[in-house]
């Protein structure tokens, strides 16, 4: 009995203070480019153990025997003293689906056609990697917890190349579909991202309204998300007025999984409620340190890393939002940020951010000419406080956890 042997080994080392995790995953991937085709089938197994023996220790391996070795090796290393957190107790058991994972859908041709149409022939789809998979996670601990949960995914990355005369530009878009493939939205992002930077001009004015496409707004939300699990808040954060009153940000992964990576029940948590900073995302260890309850945010990006507090499905609430066209109509002079041209840079401690993007000039509530590239930089606190409008067109993007954002309007922004 594999579990029994591992559990005994852990109980001997850390009576009542251990956790055992196992993940099995099967994925099928299709990688398509003009002249190349790659297919991959992967079946991965991962084991992890965490225990408190004069401090927290962690071991991971690709099978139980190697895990026993890793536990023995990690047990010899020095660790800082840390008492164990209270471990959750419950039992959630769902029989995993045993059917093989179907190959991902062949979408290169239809997506290529849509990219070409939406860019008026100026952009081509250069590659598409699409992956379908399923994973089963099991968690056991010294308090008697046993959780088994299953999840599935359909995600990937597409790249498009825009060309105008001698100039060229490549755009890469990550996608994750919770239901059916949404090719039109993906093609639009690729076409605009690959062709707008080829425009001849930059921002025509230095100040105005800033309309953020859902993809750009999601990247910004992901960049500031560490604020919601930080043990110490930066000095500039005012709990009561972190953001404009129009902003409510929630995290709710209950549709994805009943528990987090430590076995704590998934729940909805408001990180920002009508502009005020809400609850902090807590895992078992951070909750013990803060003398609080865990919120179900012990995240394991991989079996190779121990759980850490973080968002799981983070999104702007859009219940009080307006139609995107209504937001557009309200911009007398500004720029619509359609796609990023560099990763969003945020320094939460220093209250600074910088976003480089391509988009379209807005004059009198209407889209005018394209903008090749411009930059907005400033204080994170000002960005959050100047969100003047939230639309209803929320979309989710992999960051790598799902982040949902609608079109946002930010007032009084300086363009460089």
């Amino acid at each position: 009995m594999i579990h029994g042997e591992l559990e005994s080994a852990l109980e001997r080392r850390a009576p009542g203070a251990w956790e055992l995790y196992r993940k099995t995953a099967e994925t099928r991937e299709l990688d398509l480019a003009a002249a190349e085709r790659g297919e991959a089938w992967r079946r991965e197994e991962g084991w992890a153990a965490r225990w408190w023996d004069h401090g927290m220790r962690f071991a991971s391996a690709s099978d139980p025997a190697r895990l026993l070795s890793a536990i023995s090796l990690a047990g010899r290393l020095p660790a800082a003293e840390e008492p164990p957190p209270p471990l959750p107790k419950r039992e959630v058991h769902r029989e995993p689906d045993v059917a093989p994972v179907a190959p991902p859908p062949e979408l290169f041709e239809p997506l290529a056609q849509l990219v070409s149409e939406k860019s008026r022939g100026e952009a081509v789809l250069s590659s598409l990697t699409i992956r379908r998979g399923r994973s089963v996670e099991e968690i056991r601990n010294a308090a008697g917890l046993f959780v088994r949960m299953e999840s599935s995914l359909l995600d990937g990355v597409a790249r498009a190349l825009g060309r105008r005369g001698p100039r060229a530009c490549e755009r890469r878009a990550l996608f994750r579909w919770d239901t059916e493939p949404e090719l039109s939205a993906l093609a639009g992002r690729l076409a605009d991202g690959a062709t707008l930077p080829l425009a001849p001009r930059g921002a025509p004015f230095a100040r105005g309204g800033w309309l953020l496409d859902p993809a750009v707004a999601a990247a910004m939300l992901a960049a500031i998300a560490p604020l919601f699990s930080a043990e110490t808040l930066p000095r500039w954060v005012k709990r009561g007025e972190l953001a404009s009153r129009r902003v409510t940000i929630a995290d709710d992964a209950s549709a994805d999984a009943p528990c987090d990576g430590e076995g704590t029940t998934t729940r909805r948590v408001l990180a920002v409620e009508a502009g005020a900073l809400g609850a902090r995302f807590q895992d078992l260890r951070s909750a013990r340190r803060a003398a609080a309850h865990p919120t179900g945010h012990g995240v394991r990006p991989s079996y190779r890393t121990p759980p850490a507090p973080g968002p799981r499905r983070l999104f702007f609430e859009t219940a009080g939002g307006v139609a995107p066209l209504e937001l557009l109509a309200g911009v007398a002079r500004g720029i619509f940020a359609r796609a990023l041209t560099a990763p969003v840079a945020v320094d939460l401690e220093a209250d600074r951010y910088s976003v480089e993007f391509t988009g379209v000039v807005i004059v009198g509530g209407r889209a005018a000419e394209p903008v090749a590239g411009t930059r907005v930089s400033g204080r994170v606190s000002e960005f959050l406080g100047r969100i003047a409008g939230v639309a209803t067109d929320r979309q989710f993007f992999p960051m790598p956890y799902p982040v949902g954002a609608p079109t946002l309007l930010v007032e009084r922004v300086n363009f460089e």
């Binding site: 991965e44 962690f58 840390e82 990355v157």
Partner: protein, 442 residues
């Protein structure tokens, strides 16, 4: 008991029926030890012991790969079988017993390092948050008989230290970032000590760089970062079309500039003797006397001489890609003082923490945590953090004709990602001046 190469090659035979077919089996075992260091105290030790196998088949631009956890006979056979029946139901995972493997011996090197690092940190950077890791990676490739490939195995031990520390500056304490990557060797501890000493030197507090075009002197080996982005990536076979694509053998830079990619430099982080397709690695001139040189190839993109031995995988679950390894820039004749005098007014950069290139447009950017202004050939105020940006061909044509005479290894260059696959890389370069780049705050 380890399966013989010949037996594995025989199992692959049914997959290579025509001359267009090639197949291989790739096995990796990896032991990674990680320790978090906080102000001289080790914390949260982690050990990962992993093993994985993949079988790959390639025919006329079509690759198929099967990856499974484990490296035992059953895993290898199963991976090959699944490759033979790509559309059939995959076989169920075999039951595993915990007593399948003998316990690996403890690594005395790990315990020695944890003892050695504490006094080094205490002396040079007492307030810090570092993550130290030691990776022992053993790889084995068994090809089906592709030309140029023979069964091969390699073991690399890679040492990494990354994080931040608090250093004294002349206007108070400041947080500085630090990264150091090297293959584990006898001299690693001394080299680390020197790097920490240099990093912790008291400095003025930096001021913003402002937005300006500028001439830049890449010092302390940081030119390797630049050429890694604009030459190594651009000349990886299978990379996207880029400004160098149609310029084979064209002169794009000064005649004194030679840049090569050399995996055989095993003293550097990106070194290896055989690539992940079993091909013996060889040095490739990326820039030969200022002219565009050869491509870095794997089997799939091999030219007449065959693969250059640059088929690399991040792990057994990935298909090999043609990737760069160690970017080496040849030395010139200028002393450090002469290079600063030549620069006149500009920026002196001795630390870069990341870089990126967009191949289709040729635009690149390098982020630096801090730099020094040079005024009239002398070091002036500290600036940063900022970024240097430019375009590939414009930057190559703007390299100053004199290069520094001392070569420096750039130990902060350690890991490179392409398409989500991360491989170890490094480089060595003399001081290099590049004119008319764009410099701004970040």
């Amino acid at each position: 008991m380890e399966i013989e190469d010949g037996a594995i090659a025989r199992w692959l035979d049914p997959l290579t029926l025509t001359r267009d077919d090639s197949a291989d089996v790739f096995l990796e075992t990896r032991r990674t030890t990680t320790v978090e260091w906080r102000d001289g105290m080790p914390a949260e030790p982690r050990v990962a012991v992993e093993a994985g196998v993949s079988a790959r088949h390639r025919r006329k631009g079509r690759d198929r790969l099967v990856f499974l956890s484990g490296v035992e006979e059953g895993d290898i056979r199963e991976a090959i079988r699944a490759l033979q029946k790509p559309h059939g139901k995959p076989p169920p995972a075999p039951p595993r017993r915990s007593g399948d493997h003998p316990e690996p011996p403890p690594d005395p090197s790990v315990e020695r390092w944890t003892r050695r690092l504490a006094p080094v940190f205490e002396r040079h950077v007492p307030r810090h948050r570092f993550r130290w890791s030691l990776d022992e990676i053993t790889r084995r490739v068994v090809p089906s008989g592709s030309p140029g490939s023979t069964p091969g195995r390699s073991t690399r031990r890679l040492f990494s230290l990354e994080g931040t520390f608090v250093a004294a500056s002349r206007r108070g304490d400041e947080k500085r970032s630090f990264s150091f990557h090297a293959p584990e060797a006898d001299g690693t501890a001394d080299e680390l000590r020197e790097a920490l000493t240099r990093a912790a030197v008291a400095r003025e507090r930096p001021i913003p760089a402002g937005d300006a075009g500028g001439d830049v002197l890449f010092a302390a080996g940081t030119a390797a970062f630049l050429f890694h982005e604009i030459l190594s990536h651009a000349l990886e076979a299978g990379a996207d079309e880029n400004p160098l694509t149609l310029l084979a053998a064209a002169r794009v830079s000064i005649p004194d500039l030679d840049v090569r990619d050399d995996p055989m430099r095993l003293d550097l982080f990106g070194g290896y003797e055989r690539d992940d397709e079993g091909t013996r690695a060889r040095s490739v001139k990326l820039l030969d006397a200022g002219r565009v040189g050869g491509k870095l190839t794997d089997h799939a993109h091999a030219e007449a001489r065959g693969s250059t031995g640059h088929g690399r995988r991040a792990g057994p679950g990935d298909l090999p890609l043609a990737r760069g390894s160690n970017t080496l820039v040849s030395a010139g004749s200028g002393t450090s003082e002469e290079m600063m005098r030549r620069l006149g007014n500009g920026l002196w950069i001795d630390e870069i923490d990341s870089g990126a290139v967009e191949l289709s447009s040729g635009r690149f950017r390098l982020q630096f945590p801090r730099a020094r202004r040079i005024r009239r050939g002398r070091l002036a105020e500290e600036i940063g953090p900022g970024l240097v940006a430019g375009e590939m061909l414009a930057a190559l044509s703007a390299v100053e004709p004199v290069l520094g005479r001392e070569l420096h290894v750039c130990r902060s260059l350690g890991w490179c990602s392409r398409g989500g696959q991360v491989v170890p890389v490094q480089g060595e370069a003399p001081d290099v001046i590049v004119r008319r780049l764009s410099v701004r705050d970040r």
